[in-house]
C-alpha cells in the first residue's frame, strides 16, 4: 500500500534543527535566566520563530528531494535492533509543526508583555520553549515510542505551566489533577504500544501500518481503544475532561498555547496519525466518533453555564476538540485536521483577546464584573468579535469551512445521529460564544477597575496577526470541496484511508447541511442577543445576571457531576486502600520488618560487642586463634592430613 510509505528517507538537518532549537531556548532560559532578564522572552520567541521558518524551509527541501508531497524521514538512531528512532515530516506532522511553531511563536511573543514583571519571568519562557520542543517531539516522531515520549513530556510541561504560579494552592491542585488524569491516558497508550510490539515486533508507524492488514480485527480494536484512552485523557474527552477547565489556573498564554491550540489536540493527531488502523475497524470508529460527539455537546452545554471567561473558553475548547475527535473518528481526517488548523488560530486569538482583557482589568476573569468593554478596549473587542464569528462558523470565516467539513463528514461516512448532535452543538456554540461577547463587551461596565491599562504593542501585534488567518485561511485553503488546496495537500496521506471506509453517498449535499447548521447558529445567536444584548436585557443587566446565577440548574453548577463521580468511584476507594495500607500494612508489615531487622542487628551487635573487651591480651588470643585456623586450613588444603 503506497500510502504507508511515510516520508522519503534521507538526511534533513533542517528538520533536526527545527526540532532542537526550542530545546536550546529552554536550556538557555533556564540556565541564564537571571542574566537574560527580559531578554529571555525575546530569545525564546526568536528561537521558536526560527523553528517556524525552518519548518517551512525544510518542507520545501523535502518536497524538492522527494518530488512528491510524502515528506521527509530522518533517522536518528537505534534503540534495539529493529526499533529505530527518527523524525518524520509528512503533511500531517507539517500542519502540526506549523501551528506549534507559528502560533506558538505569536503566543510566546505575546507573553513578553503579558508576563512582564513576573518574578519567574525566565522560568516561564524556559517552560514554554520546553513545551514547544516536547510537542515537536510528539508530532515529528516516526514511531510510537517517540510519540509516547513526546506525549509524556508535553504532560510534564503542562504540569509545570498550570502550576506556574505555585504560590496558589488552586494552581497546584489543578496541575496535579491534570498530571494524574493524563497519566491514566499514558497508561492506555503504553498498553497499546505493548500490544503493538508484542504482535508486530516493530514501533515505526510505517512498519505497523504495513502489518496492520494481517492483524485480527479484535486486536486492532483493542489497540485503537487503548490508544484512544490516551487521546481521551490528553484531549479532554468525556469522561477524563475535568482537568481542562481547572488547567485555566495557568497564565493565559499557557491556556492559549497548550490548552487550546496544540497539546490538547494531540489526541486528534494520534487518531489521524493512526488512520490506517482506524479506517479498517468500524467499531473503533464508532467508539471514537461517539465519544467525540458527546464531548462536543457536553462541552457546549457546560460552556453556557460558566462565568469565568477562561472557563467558558476552556469548555469551548473541549467542545471543539470533541468535534475534531468525532471527525477523525468517523473518517473525515481532512476535516478534523482542518478544524484543528483553523481552531488553533481563532481559539488562540480568543484566549489572547481574553488575556488582553484580564491583563487590563488586573486579573479579573469573571464576566459578570466586566461589561461595556467595547468602549474601553475597542481593539480587544474587534479581536474577540472576529474570533467569535470564526468559531461559530459564520460563512466566510475560517471556522465555517472547517466545521462544515466536519459536520458533513458525519453524513458522508454514514453517521446521521452524530450529524444531528454536532449540528445542535453548533447552535449551542453560537449561543455561549455570543453570550460571552455580549456580557463582557456590551452594556455598562460593572467592575471596579477605574483605569484599564492598555497592553503594550508586544501583546497587540501577535493578536492582530492572528486575526488574518482566523478570518481568511478557511476561504484560502478549504473552499472548493474536493479540489481545495487542503484536499490536494492531504490526498496522498489520507486518500487511501478515507477510501477504505465503506460509505454510501449522503442523501443531502454539503450546501444543505451548511444551511441547516447556519440556521441553528442564527437561532443560538438570536437567543443570546435576546437574553443579553437586547435593549431590554441591557437595562437591568446586573440583576439579570444575578438572577441567572441563582437560577442555574444544579446539574450544570456541578458540571454533570463528573468530578463527583470520579471522586466517588476512584478517588475515595483509592484513599480507603491507602488508609488500609497506611494503618495496617505499613506499620505492621513494612515497619515490622524494619523493626525486626533492627532487633536482630542489635542482638548480633550485643553478642559481638562482648568480645570487644578492650583487653589487649584477649585480642592477642583471638588473633592467635584466627592464625591457627588459617594454618590448619592450609594444612588441610595442602593435603597434609589424609
Amino acid at each position: 500500500m503506497p500510502h504507508h510509505l511515510l516520508g522519503v528517507p534521507g538526511s534533513y538537518p533542517l528538520v533536526e534543527a527545527l526540532w532542537l532549537l526550542p530545546l536550546a531556548g529552554a536550556i538557555l532560559c533556564w540556565a541564564f535566566g537571571p542574566q537574560l532578564r527580559t531578554l529571555a522572552g525575546w530569545l525564546a520567541s526568536a528561537l521558536v520563530g526560527a523553528s517556524f521558518v525552518l519548518a517551512a524551509l525544510s518542507w520545501g527541501a523535502a518536497t524538492q528531494t522527494a518530488g512528491a508531497a510524502l515528506g521527509a524521514s530522518q533517522a536518528l538512531g537505534s534503540w534495539l535492533p529493529g526499533f529505530d528512532f527518527g523524525l518524520l515530516l509528512d503533511p500531517l506532522s507539517l500542519i502540526w509543526t506549523f501551528i506549534i511553531t507559528g502560533v506558538g511563536f505569536l503566543i510566546v511573543f505575546y507573553s513578553i508583555g503579558y508576563m512582564e514583571g513576573d518574578r519567574a519571568y525566565a522560568r516561564f519562557f524556559a517552560y514554554m520553549s520546553f513545551f514547544v520542543f516536547a510537542m515537536l517531539t510528539l508530532v515529528l516522531s516516526d514511531n510510537w515510542v517517540g510519540l509516547l515520549v513526546g506525549w509524556g513530556l508535553v504532560g510534564v510541561a503542562s504540569y509545570f505551566l498550570i502550576g506556574f504560579w505555585f504560590q496558589r494552592p488552586s494552581a497546584v491542585a489543578a496541575a496535579r489533577k491534570a498530571f494524574v488524569i493524563n497519566v491514566v491516558g499514558d497508561a492506555g497508550m503504553m498498553f497499546a504500544i505493548f500490544l503493538i510490539v508484542a504482535n508486530v515486533h516493530a514501533i515505526g508507524f510505517g512498519d505497523v501500518f504495513s502489518a496492520a492488514g494481517g492483524l485480527s480485527s479484535t486486536l486492532v480494536f483493542w489497540i485503537c481503544a487503548a490508544l484512544f484512552i490516551g487521546a481521551v485523557a490528553k484531549s479532554a474527552q468525556i469522561p477524563l475532561h475535568t482537568w481542562l477547565p481547572d488547567a485555566m489556573e495557568g497564565p493565559t498564554p499557557v491556556s492559549a498555547l497548550i490548552h487550546a491550540a496544540t497539546m490538547v489536540t494531540a489526541g486528534v493527531y494520534l487518531v489521524a496519525r493512526s488512520a490506517p488502523l482506524w479506517s479498517h475497524n468500524p467499531q473503533a470508529q464508532v467508539l471514537v466518533g461517539t465519544v467525540g460527539a458527546i464531548t462536543a455537546l457536553t462541552g457546549a452545554i457546560l460552556g453556557t453555564a460558566q462565568w469565568d471567561i477562561k472557563r467558558i473558553l476552556a469548555y469551548s475548547t473541549m467542545s471543539q476538540i470533541g468535534y475534531m475527535i468525532m471527525a477523525v473518528g468517523v473518517g473525515a481526517y481532512e476535516g478534523g485536521v482542518a478544524l484543528f488548523f483553523t481552531h488553533a488560530f481563532f481559539k488562540a486569538q480568543l484566549f489572547l483577546g481574553a488575556g488582553l482583557v484580564i491583563h487590563a482589568l488586573n486579573n479579573e476573569q469573571d464576566v459578570r464584573r466586566m461589561g461595556g468593554l467595547w468602549k474601553k478596549m475597542p481593539f480587544a473587542f474587534w479581536v474577540m468579535l472576529t474570533a467569535v464569528l470564526a468559531i461559530t462558523g459564520v460563512p466566510g470565516f475560517s471556522g465555517f469551512f472547517s466545521k462544515d467539513e466536519v459536520i458533513f463528514g458525519d453524513l458522508q461516512f454514514g453517521h446521521p445521529v452524530l450529524f444531528a448532535i454536532s449540528a445542535l452543538t453548533a447552535g449551542i456554540t453560537a449561543y455561549y460564544m455570543f453570550r460571552l461577547l455580549f456580557i463582557a463587551f456590551f452594556g455598562e461596565y460593572r467592575g471596579d477597575v477605574d483605569h484599564a491599562h492598555a497592553p503594550g504593542w508586544t501583546m497587540n501585534v501577535p493578536v492582530a496577526i492572528l486575526v488574518a488567518p482566523s478570518v481568511a485561511i478557511g476561504a484560502a485553503l478549504l473552499s472548493g470541496g474536493e479540489n481545495s488546496p487542503w484536499a490536494r495537500f492531504f490526498a496522498a496521506q489520507f486518500g487511501p484511508d478515507m477510501a477504505a471506509i465503506a460509505h454510501r453517498p449522503p442523501a443531502i449535499s454539503e450546501g444543505v447541511t451548511s444551511g441547516i447548521v447556519f440556521a441553528l447558529v442564527l437561532i443560538g445567536f438570536a437567543i443570546a442577543w435576546w437574553r443579553y444584548a437586547s435593549p431590554g436585557a441591557q437595562r437591568d443587566a446586573g440583576e439579570r445576571l444575578e438572577g441567572e446565577t441563582r437560577g442555574m440548574p444544579a446539574v450544570l453548577v456541578h458540571l454533570f457531576y463528573v468530578d463527583d463521580a470520579i471522586q466517588l468511584l476512584f478517588v475515595r476507594p483509592a484513599q480507603r486502600l491507602g488508609a488500609f495500607f497506611g494503618s495496617i500494612f505499613d506499620p505492621h508489615v513494612i515497619d515490622g520488618a524494619v523493626r525486626d531487622v533492627v532487633f536482630w542487628a542489635r542482638w548480633l551487635g550485643t553478642l559481638v560487642r562482648s568480645f570487644q573487651t578492650g583487653l589487649v591480651r584477649a585480642y592477642a588470643l583471638i588473633l592467635v586463634f584466627g592464625a591457627t585456623c588459617f594454618i590448619v586450613y592450609y594444612a588441610f588444603a595442602a593435603g597434609a592430613l589424609h
Binding site: R617, A618, A620, L621, F625, T628, V632, A640, L641
Partner: protein, 196 residues
Amino acid sequence: MIEFWILAVILVASAVWTIAASKPVYSVVALLLNFAALAVLYVTLSAEFLAVIQIIVYSGAILVLFVFVIALLSSGVAPFAMGPNRLPKIWLPGGVVVLVSLGFLVYAASQAVPASVRPPNGPVGAANVFGSVSDFGAALFTVQLLPFEVTALILMVAVIGVITLGGEAMRDAAPRGHERKVERAMREAILREGTD
C-alpha cells in the same frame, strides 16, 4: 650439627627465661642472650651480614631502648614492679582451640612427606658469596629497591608517631599550678635542709 643443638638449647632456654623472668630487666638480659645466640645461628646459615645487623640493631638499639624505658618507668618510684600474671578471661575456649589446632598441626607434620630439599650445610661462604655484605647490598639496592624505600617510609612514619606520642606525654606530664607550688616548696625545703 653440634653447634645447632647447642644453639637450639640456648635459644629455647633464653626464650623461656625471657617470658618467665620476675623482673623486666632480667627479661632484657635473657632476650640479649637469645639474640646473640640467633646471630651465631645466622652465621652458620651463611647470613653474615644479617648476623651483624642482628647484634647492632636488636642488641644495640632495641634492647637498649627497652632498658631505657624500664629505667624511665622506675625512676623516683619503687623498683619496677612486674605485676601479676593472669590469663585472659577467654583463656579456656581460646586455649582449647589453640591446643586442638596445634595437635592437628603436629599430627600433620608427623604425617608429612620429608622435604626433598635438604640444607647443604656446607662451610660458610663456600663456593659463592651468598649472604655476604656485597651480595646482600646489591640485591637491596637493585631488585629489592622498592621494598627498601617503603621500609624507609615506615620508619619515617614511626618517627613521627613517636614524636607525637612523646609530645602528648610531655603535655600530660607538665606540672600543673598547684603541683608547681608543691615542687617549689619541696625545693625550698631541700635548700633549707642543705643550709642547716
